[in-house]
């Protein structure tokens, strides 16, 4: 072999290595769970403020279903109690899942109006949290849910800062960002998210926006809807009915 052949061989070797290395495994076309195809769905949630009784069962169920730490401050979904007094002052407080603490704040004086607002990740169509993630750990699935890849997340908290709805928190044990997934593991099995399942007043309505006959489709047709912070153009997929103007 002369020098020319040697160089030729080297070139071949390197390029073939690159080709083999770049080939993708055949896991590509695999469905993520049995016959569930994400491209056939697009999920959203409706919340009727007039129906919410502030019992906090959704918060409790979410913690149980998703192994969210039991202590307060860590929530994937939470319920805020708005109290607007006669002097127009507004107080907002996240309700407790503990009955004794809950009962402490039950009666207010000089109340003009008051109501509960359940909140969760709005699963924005244009999610700011996905934009800021420096490692691409958070992403939007084909069925419209924003997920966090716990293996890739470096826990830098940019997304927690970027979320205008305060829907994310840093999980104290795994040290990665965590948020509502619409109970993705339940969706792929055809079940409802845990908070919707336990809601005693059906204040939360869940459904597929690609299906006209879903309960959410009816909710969207029958109510005057509002989303949180519409001016930010995040295009949330959590729709509120009978929302008060004081809520933001």
């Amino acid at each position: 072999m002369d020098r020319r052949d040697f160089l030729k061989n080297i070139c071949l070797f390197i390029s073939s290595g690159a080709v083999v290395g770049g080939l993708s495994p055949d896991a590509w076309a695999k469905l993520i769970h049995k016959d569930y195809d994400p491209a056939k769905h697009y999920y959203g949630m409706g919340i009727d403020i007039d129906k919410c009784i502030g019992c906090g069962r959704c918060m409790q169920a979410c913690k149980t279903e998703n192994d969210v730490p039991g202590v307060p401050y860590f929530f994937r979904t939470w319920v805020e109690r708005y109290v607007i007094k006669t002097d127009k002052s507004v107080t907002v407080k996240t309700i407790s899942t503990n009955l004794e603490e809950l009962a402490d704040s039950f009666v207010e004086k000089d109340m003009l109006r008051s109501f509960f607002v359940p909140k969760l990740c709005n699963q924005c169509d244009h999610p700011p949290c996905v934009q800021v993630c420096p490692v691409g750990a958070t992403f939007k699935t084909d069925d419209g849910v924003i997920l966090v890849d716990g293996k890739r997340c470096i826990g830098c908290r940019y997304c927690i800062q970027a979320c205008p709805y305060g829907a994310r928190y840093l999980h104290p044990e795994t040290r990665v960002a965590d948020k509502c997934t619409f109970c993705y593991h339940r969706l792929v099995r055809g079940l409802l998210p845990a908070c919707v399942e336990v809601c005693p007043k059906q204040a939360r309505v869940f459904g597929d926006m690609k299906s006209i006959a879903s309960p959410l489709g009816r909710f969207i047709r029958m109510n005057k809807l509002h989303v949180l912070k519409p001016s930010l153009n995040t295009d949330p997929k959590v729709y509120y009915a009978n929302l008060d103007g004081e809520v933001n």
Binding site: R3, V20, C55, E65, V107, F139, D149, E197
Partner: protein, 248 residues
């Protein structure tokens, strides 16, 4: 080939060997050690969704419960708790569904659990059944009087005062004390179950009040005015509050 290597100076061979080892090392690391989902974003997304989908389901859903507990399911679906999922009270029961004999779900038999929804809270929607636990049969478990699968108030609210107590008390001290609410308000039966969406009517014409208060009307001892001259274009209740006829 051998001749070619023999001709090379020793230091050149060493450099080539070092580079070869590096190249092979890099190839091996990229090909076999780095997992494919770290190299391909689409694959990373897919594997992350798979991991999310594989998470453990803890709430089985009401349909699963109904497959065995037919009796409770049937009783519940006609009562006021029809929208309430079994697991809202009995807790997450997927483990019980998988292994019905060994794992039993909880059954809240004490007084406190019902309080999550039914303790009086000024923020709760009007008409939602609420009690003050300190005065409502203290220390007695709720289930002694109410069947949780088909709850009924021991006495269904007969009068409007069940919810509109303040108006009832005001009216009792007014000249209109002897008039029933339905004399002026046409109240659909459904207002009892959907108090905010289905509302009673209010008298919206001057002629309605004129039936008693016009000079030409037959009532005796009723303050009467000339409906044509009095009050111009205004409807009566814009100046007079009919529930509280003090000096107005």
């Amino acid at each position: 080939m051998k001749e070619f290597f023999n001709k090379l100076p020793e230091q050149a061979v060493r450099v080539i060997v070092v580079f070869l080892v590096l190249a092979v090392g890099l190839f091996v690391i990229r090909q076999f050690i780095i997992p494919p989902e770290m190299k391909e974003p689409a694959l990373q997304k897919l594997s992350s969704m798979e991991r999310e989908a594989d998470k453990e389901v803890k709430y089985a859903g009401a349909q699963v419960c109904g497959q065995c507990h037919e009796k409770e399911h049937d009783i519940k679906k006609t009562g006021y708790h029809r929208d309430l999922s079994c697991e809202s009270c009995h807790g997450a029961a997927q483990k019980h569904a998988d292994n019905p004999t060994d794992v039993k779900p909880t059954s809240p038999k004490k007084r406190d659990y019902c309080g999550y929804c039914h303790t009086y809270n000024s923020s709760r929607p009007t008409g939602f059944p609420q009690i003050n636990p300190d005065t409502h049969n203290p220390r007695k478990p709720c289930i002694t009087c109410h069947n949780p699968h088909n709850p009924k108030p021991p006495q269904t609210p007969r009068s409007c005062a069940a919810c509109h107590a303040q108006i009832e008390r005001t009216k009792a001290a007014s000249y209109h004390a002897l008039l029933g609410c339905t004399v002026c308000h046409n109240t659909p039966e459904k207002h009892k179950t959907a108090p905010r969406t289905i509302r009673p009517t209010k008298p919206d014409t001057r002629e309605f009040c004129g039936k008693c208060h016009d000079k030409a009307s037959p009532g005796k001892g009723v303050p009467a005015v000339d409906m044509n001259a009095h009050g111009e274009k205004y409807v009566c209740w814009q100046c007079h509050y009919p529930h509280m006829l003090g000096g107005i």
